[in-house]
Amino acid sequence: MLAMHPSRSSLRTFCWCLLFTGSTATAVPVDVTTFHYGNQRLGWNSAETSLKPANINRNSFGKRWHAKLDGRVPGSPLYLSGLNVSGSQRDVVFAATNQNSVFALDAATGKTLWSRPRLARPLIDAEFRGSWFGDERYGVLSTPVIDRANNALYVCGVRQKGLRQHFTVWSLDVRTGATRPGWPVDVKATDGGTRFEAGQVMQRGALSLVNGWVYLPFGGRGDTPPWRGWVVGIDTRRPQAPQRGFCASPVTDGAGIWSGGGVSSDGSSLYAVTGNGDFDLNRGGRNTGQCVLRLSPTLAFSRQAKDYYTPSNYKYLDEQDEDLGGATALVLPPQPGRRPNLLFTGGKDGLAYLVDRDRLGGVGGEVQKERLFSPVDAPYHEGIRATPAYFDGGAAGRYLFVAGDQPGPNDNLGIAALRLDLDPRSNETRFRRAWTLKKAINGPSSPIVTSDGPRDAVVWIVETNDGEGSNLRAYEATTGALLYNSNEDEKSDRFDEGRRFTSPIVADGRVFVGARGVVCFGLTQEVAK
């Protein structure tokens, strides 16, 4: 969650207002406690007063430090400002690695403030995927979540205990790294007669913290059957209490919830987007492949059309491996028109989808859908696999930034910026393209946006290149003009192994990127807070 402090509660309220009014913020430190700055997954930090289009260029902006940790950072880093660690106030970056390790780093220097190496032994390929031939390690695979009020960080990793694999959630004290009382707990959910089987699933989606419950989404391991999508909830106040479970495909394989953004929430409901799998809700069934789902905080699902959406070509999408769930659904702030409450998402088919949050619409009931990436006749579609970002520029307009893997119609490449406007004929908000890049982005991360209120908006994204030669890029948000590309300066700014399915974060004038360790970018003459 994006929050500011001191006087955190009032400033959080202020920030909340900012999202909807576009008013200007003063320079206050922020916290990044969850993926994409909040449970709405908007990916917008509206309180960035240091980094502006005017000073983001290779002369004044670049790599500050690279903390090479013990492995890859598959999820987004998180950030707390002004945290008391070892008796002094620090701005702290938190990162969890595929080695099941968690690190707290000094945001100014990258030095380790505390670490919890190998909370449990990570799995090798032969254990996780059944292949002798890879050397990857599987530990923490997602973005943790922080409850600042309780000084708690929740992180999920996979481990072997005896003859079983388990997904285990640890709660660490953000000030010391110590495991908090009552933790860790293994994920052990059931839904009706279906039992959660850790060995079937992968936990890539970011953790969400909603009303004291941590929610964890699960997808498959490369679609190797059998697997079932799940959302599991753990009560942080009573970690040993029975867990909540929702199985997205209790009868047949599939319906993984694998987007890096996990599940989103408007505070009263959870929204999950599923991938491949059977869909039979419209025939009285319980399989929810290729759907946007509204779940209650107890993870109850009504199976009514008002609480799910699936494209009318769901069967084709399923057959073609064009998962709807490439992106987490953004819970948009209220929009003008007769349908003010909207969700926005995108799929591997390359289409963007806008649906009515008040009534998701069942089969084919979208407000708008449009192909942004991936040609119709592509032999294999990898259109949208990143969670978009939202920005309200006040008079400059409201935007969505969608990253895509493959070229799309109308020369869409890399990022398609969409402008949200009221369509006078339907009296509904619709999107249309504002700009696109001139060059593709190879393996884009999820983008984020920073701005100082409605001004100085910048889109940040990592081109992962799926390994070596990843690069951080910054674009002016309303025009798409390139401001910075870290590969321009091969000697000092390059880094490797930026991660897909996640995003960089920006906080208090610094950009933090999960890679092999954490890479920090900022102004070369850093502005004192």
Binding site: R121, I124, A126, E127, F128, R129, G130, S131, W132, F133, Q160, K161, G162, L163, R164, Q165, E197, A198, G199, Q200, R221, G222, D223, T224, P225, P226, D253, G254, D318, E319, D321, P379, N465, G467, E468, G469
Partner: protein, 363 residues
């Protein structure tokens, strides 16, 4: 098919540009149309296996099999300065399967660090191939290279339940026109099928293969092995228990690096054992006693040393108990090992009631 064979086939595919490659299990056979359930894309696919389709087998071997004149596909790490260091090879006495495709020069990955090539083997020492434009390419054969030998087999190896790797093109109606089909010979016995028994009349069963609405008639062979799988909670298995592990070891002469570690497919309590592939693909069956569960699973083999057990996701933990023919009843799920009789019916040499597929056998 072994993952590395798949890898090299896909690399080879980059040269030959076949449009479709899939691995899956044969669910039904209707004339020349074989219905497959792909392992990684679990959607039913129809495959036409026509008179020109080559039915191939792969066998892992070592460099001694390589002879001048063989058709070769090879891949590995590439650097401009040092050329291609071969980590895997497919070789055949004559051009079959994707080894038939034209190969020229060394193709490299976009990052320039991996490469593949192919052609006809000119000399083994030094390792030189001649590509299809006559250019000689000297390669460095890595001592830990994985080498597969390809050869043709009879299409009667393609049975319901057989897991196969298919290479071909997809017709507009979605049917894959197979150019080559290779039965997988790893782990399970050829003809292993999972399904539900719908009816029993004497020694004849009516079986519905998984994922289909088909009905097939299966006769129990005279010497059929009948067992029932009883799943066990892994948490009930303790240090000191006598168990049997079935799995893969990398301690064969061609494995590099060699290790006695065993990647388990199943942990079995008692004498019962799943039917498995004959020959090299059947894996290791080791009986002994568990010596540790944490931090690693360790196991002392009867009369041998203590080894580490790698426990993959969804390793089966079960006891197999013998049953009588009268225990085979309609309604049971079952694993059957089938062969085809001359009149087209199926004969089962082994039936395991209540058996569910192990991971990787999803298709």
């Amino acid at each position: 098919m072994n993952a590395l064979v798949l890898a090299i086939t896909l690399l080879g595919g980059a040269v030959d540009a076949p449009k479709t490659q899939l691995e899956g299990t044969i669910l039904s056979i209707r004339g020349n149309i074989y219905v497959l359930r792909p392992s990684l894309r679990p959607k039913i696919t129809r495959v036409l296996i026509g008179p020109k389709t080559e039915v191939m087998a792969y066998e892992r071997t070592n460099a001694a099999v390589l002879k001048p004149g063989m058709r070769i596909a090879a891949g590995g790490r590439y650097a401009k300065e040092t050329g291609l260091r071969v980590r895997w090879i497919e070789a055949a006495e004559k051009p079959i399967g994707h080894l038939k495709g034209k190969r020229t020069g060394i193709r490299t990955s976009p990052d320039g660090k991996w490469g593949n090539t192919g052609g006809t083997l000119k000399t083994v020492q030094p390792f030189v191939i001649r590509d299809d434009e006559g250019k000689e390419i000297k390669l460095t054969l890595s001592p830990d290279a994985n080498i597969w030998h390809d050869f043709l087999v009879d299409r009667r190896n393609l049975l319901i339940g057989t897991r196969v790797f298919v290479s071909g093109t997809t017709a507009p109606d979605g049917v894959v026109q197979a150019e080559s089909v290779a039965p997988n010979r790893d782990h399970s016995a050829t003809g292993t099928m999972f399904g539900r028994i719908l009816g029993v009349r004497g020694r004849t069963l009516v079986v519905q293969p998984r994922y289909t609405d088909d009905r097939i008639q299966v006769d129990l062979a005279r010497n059929v092995t009948l067992q029932r799988e009883i799943r066990l909670d892994p948490d009930t298995i303790k240090v000191g228990d006598r168990v049997t592990f079935w799995g893969e070891q990398r301690n064969r002469p061609y494995d590099q690096p060699r290790s006695d570690d065993l990647k388990a497919i199943a942990l079995l309590v008692g004498p019962g054992m799943y039917p498995r592939s004959t020959g090299k693909g059947g894996g290791s069956v080791l009986r002994g006693r568990l010596t540790a569960l944490e931090p690693d699973v360790r196991f002392r083999v009867d009369g041998g040393k203590t080894i580490k057990i790698v426990v993959p996701a969804q390793m089966i933990t079960a006891r197999l108990v013998p049953v009588r023919p009268s225990d085979v009843r309609a309604g049971s799920s079952a694993m059957l090992v089938l062969s085809r009789l001359p009149d087209g019916r199926f004969s089962a040499s082994s039936v395991v009631l209540d058996a569910s597929p192990w991971v990787g056998y999803g298709g």
